[in-house]
């Protein structure tokens, strides 16, 4: 092992080779990490835009910030067991639930009467350490079909610093550029705001795959249909920014609230990658069992606080579809969770306090 001294020019060449190898690897890493690509929609940039719109409310979710924890159970009747081998659908199976009702937007002090949409997220605890998480909305379709379009919608709806309202011209320009928003806009035009979290239908919006015991895939969407009849928000409720949580507590004091978990099965050819399109009315629907909610708790110290309702936390027997929103929701929710848990850890006092009411 004698040290051979190469000629100087050769040495320079050899050092250059080493430098190039390292530079190429470092550049590739930076590119994959998004640092050389400012136009790429990263989870970071999606959450930054939500923060641009609503401000930073430390400890809170960056969207659907205002919400309430609920606890209950799901009792399967076995009807969906032929479509999905997930143990949650076995006949007679009871799965504990930790849920969260919320309204959209990043402001945890928002007025309940403002948004036309309510949301309901659920975590089903399965017997074998698996979980099924789903975040549903009370609307029939999503406004857009891609993460990029959702990002543009967020940017177009950024409130003006003076009026506090989005720029109408920007909004109409966005909708003109995005004809896929038409079904949502048609619904929003006539939709009545509900008087309660517990008397509206919630929908998964995105399509998923159910995998049965034989390994066959069935494309599905699911939703919750309440037993409580729909009534619209009253004028008196409109005056109270926290009427939804009060209504929720009053109703739960009278007794548990129930929904039926309805699974809609796609026919071949139905769009599974586009949450702006409803499936035809005649599609097969299965009542898979009953969701019962028994109690509610403020999110500041409730069991839903530290749950990220990532729609791709799924048990064996349920899987994501080719809907591009699912991946984006999973990635962005995770970034929101990282930020709020960091803030929670850094703050000495609990930061997710419910608005005083």
């Amino acid at each position: 092992m004698t040290l051979k001294t190469p000629p100087p020019l050769n040495t320079i060449f050899r050092f250059t080779v080493i430098g190039l190898v390292i530079a190429i690897l470092a550049t590739a890493f930076a590119y994959v990490g998004g640092w050389l690509d400012p136009g790429r929609l990263t989870p970071d940039r999606m959450i930054n835009t939500l923060e641009d719109n609503a401000g930073v409310h430390e400890g809170y979710r960056r969207n659907h910030a205002k919400g309430y924890c609920v606890v209950g159970r799901f009792e399967s009747n076995g009807n969906a067991a032929s479509l999905s081998r997930a143990s949650v659908f076995e006949a007679g199976q009871q799965s504990p639930l930790i849920g969260r009702f919320a309204i959209p937007g990043g402001n945890p002090n928002a007025n309940d009467g403002m948004p036309p949409i309510r949301s309901f997220a659920l975590q089903f605890q399965l017997s074998n350490d698996e979980q099924w998480r789903t975040a549903m909305n009370a609307m029939p379709v999503f406004p857009v079909s891609t993460p990029q379009a959702f990002w543009e919608l967020l940017k177009a709806s950024r409130p003006d610093s003076k009026s506090g309202k989005p720029d109408a011209a920007k909004m109409s320009a966005f909708f003109a550029d995005h004809p896929e928003t038409k079904p949502f806009l048609a619904w929003a035009k006539t939709a009545q705001r509900s008087s309660s979290f517990v008397n509206v239908d919630y929908n998964s919006l995105d399509a998923f795959r159910f995998i049965d015991a034989a390994g066959t895939t069935h494309f599905v969407r699911w939703g919750l249909v309440p037993e409580a009849p729909f009534t619209a928000m009253t004028d008196a409720q409109k005056q109270d920014p926290d009427f939804l949580s009060k209504d929720l507590r009053e109703r739960l004091e009278q007794g548990p609230q129930r929904w039926h978990l309805i699974v809609t099965v796609a026919n071949p050819g139905d769009p599974t990658n586009d949450a702006t399109l409803v499936w035809p009315e005649d599609r097969r629907q299965i009542d898979a069992g009953v969701v019962t909610i028994e109690s509610a708790q403020a999110q500041a110290d409730g069991p839903c606080r530290d749950i990220n309702y990532d729609p791709l936390v799924l048990p064996d027997g349920i899987a994501g579809s080719d809907d591009p929103l699912l991946s984006a929701r999973s990635a962005a929710y995770s970034e929101s969770y990282n930020r709020r848990t960091r803030e929670e850890a850094e703050s000495a006092t609990p930061s997710t306090q419910e608005p005083q009411s």
Binding site: K4, I22, R40, E130, Q131, D306, D316
Partner: protein, 181 residues
């Protein structure tokens, strides 16, 4: 057991090069999956977890192989600071390869996430859910990953320096079999 040989043992070399590919892939997968909202996010996350557990298993085997077979001696004329850097960087690499999968697994448990390797295969929780612990481990996972990538680049630079500049047999001890037993 640290018998000195001219080259690394066959199992050590197999483990080194397969893990080199796995750890580099893992770093690119990790940095890539948190930097996109596209469908790549989902399949990269699905790769990240089983690959991390595979690395954890292999690094334990590798430490046993190292203990059993030893390592070739560094060249006698290597400057002391380079000798020290070689030893330190190797132990940092082992520590990070061992720590990263464990931190990732504990972090997911602390975040209340089921640690799903494949559909239906869920690892046990290492800790009970805690947002504070999750947050600390999530921070550590990123910064230790970046540190691991930096140390690997230093390791690669040193290996190429031995192979191309010093040409002292150090790189060959990991690339070639033993010619003079």
């Amino acid at each position: 057991m640290n018998s000195r040989t001219a080259t690394f043992s066959v199992p050590a070399r197999l483990l080194h090069w397969s893990m080199a590919i796995m750890v580099m892939s893992m770093l690119f997968i990790g940095i890539g999956m948190v930097a996109t909202v596209s469908e790549r996010h989902v399949w990269l996350v699905q790769l990240h977890k089983p690959l991390g557990i595979a690395i954890l298993a292999l690094v334990i085997v590798r430490l046993l192989v190292r203990w059993r077979h030893g390592t070739p001696a560094l060249p006698a004329d290597l400057p002391p600071w380079q000798r020290a850097a070689a030893h330190l960087s190797h132990w940092v690499l082992y520590a990070l390869m061992l720590a990263m999968p464990l931190i990732g697994w504990t972090m997911l448990s602390a975040g209340g996430y089921p640690v799903t390797l494949y559909s239906g295969i869920t690892l046990p929780d290492l800790v009970s859910p805690s947002a504070t612990l999750y947050s600390a481990l999530r921070f550590a996972h990123t910064w230790l990953a970046l540190s691991l990538f930096a140390v690997i680049l230093i390791h690669l630079t040193a290996a190429l320096y031995h192979g191309l500049i010093r040409r002292d047999g150090v790189l060959a001890s990991m690339t070639k079999g033993q010619k003079h037993p």
